[in-house]
Symmetry: C2
């Protein structure tokens, strides 16, 4: 399983991804799911992936090495000149891998519920965030819905629904993303530490933060403890239901 | 969609169910999903249902009217003499309806992801809570895992995971169930008011509360407002992440 979330707001772009993969419950491993493709000062693309690991790794490899075009020319993700073209290109590579490997994988009963988040900015263009489906089509986050999720999205959605808007303070939004990650990790063993995060300030092109939160890191540990304590206090502070006679 | 939760603890049994049904997003209606079968002072069975409405209504009707046995005799849910037998009987009726209607429904592409919660007590026996699957098999809640959910269970699970134990105060557990219901309603339009609740104190056999929470009811409205405000405060009180230089 996997949980990745991307948030785009007035200040910039945040991407977070867990690193746990599992082939069955008895085969758990750690793999990076948040991949950054850069031309320093010019272009930054961040891609978070969910779904069959062989499939998504093939997509990443082709995005780096290039898709073959006519006369030996190859086209890479970093060759794209707009975020929209980049999303189209990732979609094309997803379809390419599907044509190459997809039906063989599905014949053996493995699921191909692949999805990806693509965020980033090219100098002089807009910061954008997309979610790609396994058919290679995609949607874009907007000011109305400034976050997108892939993988195990339900456990972590309520806190985002309640608190994340386009005008949420940037690092508060990062904090909310981490709370969302915490809720997901508590309820689904297939999502786990470390967590990779990327922080990109709007129009600065180069990432402000690329960081891996490891198990035991004090800030994240403290966030989890504080959130648990605050939730306990929150429900304790709500009066008991008035239905019936309370006898206990 | 549907969300139902049952909680069994040291003090008794709580059952909650929303009432929204939908056949497509453009056809939404209100139907009771929490059904109570009683022999006053002797037996109380509460059954919450999720899945295809025609299927679950057939099951309810047969449980009330009886399944035909030899020589014109019929057997009803209230005829059962233990909760375990009751769970077996509900499972048998699910299989019966599946044999009668199931393959025809599935031929037309409708989903039959039926599941049910059965809770209750028979005088002189133990209070018990079961979850039945569409195959008619079932599991039972225990002191380790004192709650069971059916339908859209993920949005409302984190708060139960964090706070509900076998020794949670009875009406606090009801409050937590309602918070879980609130989280689900916020994130899935297919789950909605009114909410039916049943409160059964251990060994009292007859329900302590049978209540329908309608839209606009002051207590539930206040609970939702307080929970939202407390969550806002909870994340506001967590310090900002230390990663990178905070510039905003």
């Amino acid at each position: 399983m996997t949980y990745c979330v991307g948030i785009i707001n007035r200040d910039g772009l945040l991407m977070m991804a867990d690193t746990r993969t599992n082939a069955g419950l008895d085969n758990i491993a750690t793999f990076r799911k948040l991949h950054v493709f850069r031309v320093p000062g010019e272009k930054t693309f961040a891609l978070a992936t969910a779904g069959n690991l062989g499939f998504t790794q093939s997509v990443i490899s082709i995005l780096r090495e290039g898709l073959e075009r006519e006369e030996g020319r190859v086209e890479r993700l970093v060759d794209q000149d707009s975020m929209f073209q980049a999303a189209q290109f990732v979609g094309e590579v997803i379809r390419h891998v599907y044509r190459t490997d997809g039906s063989a994988i599905e014949q053996h009963g493995a699921s191909l519920e692949v999805s990806m988040l693509l965020g980033g900015q090219i100098k002089g263009r807009n910061l954008r965030l997309f979610m790609l489906y396994k058919a290679g089509n995609f949607i874009e986050a907007t000011t109305d819905t400034p976050y997108l999720q892939i993988g195990e999205h339900k456990y972590g959605k309520p806190i985002l629904d309640r608190a994340v808007t386009f005008n949420t303070d940037f690092y508060d939004a990062l904090k909310l993303g981490l709370i969302s990650m915490d809720s997901t990790m508590r309820s689904n063993l297939g999502v786990g530490l470390p967590i990779d995060i990327l922080v990109m300030r709007r129009d600065e092109i180069d990432p402000e933060v690329e960081h891996r939160i490891e198990a035991g890191e004090p800030y994240f540990h403290d966030l989890r403890e504080r959130w648990s304590a605050a939730l306990r206090k929150a429900h304790n502070d709500i009066p008991p239901p008035p239905y019936g006679q309370k006898k206990s």
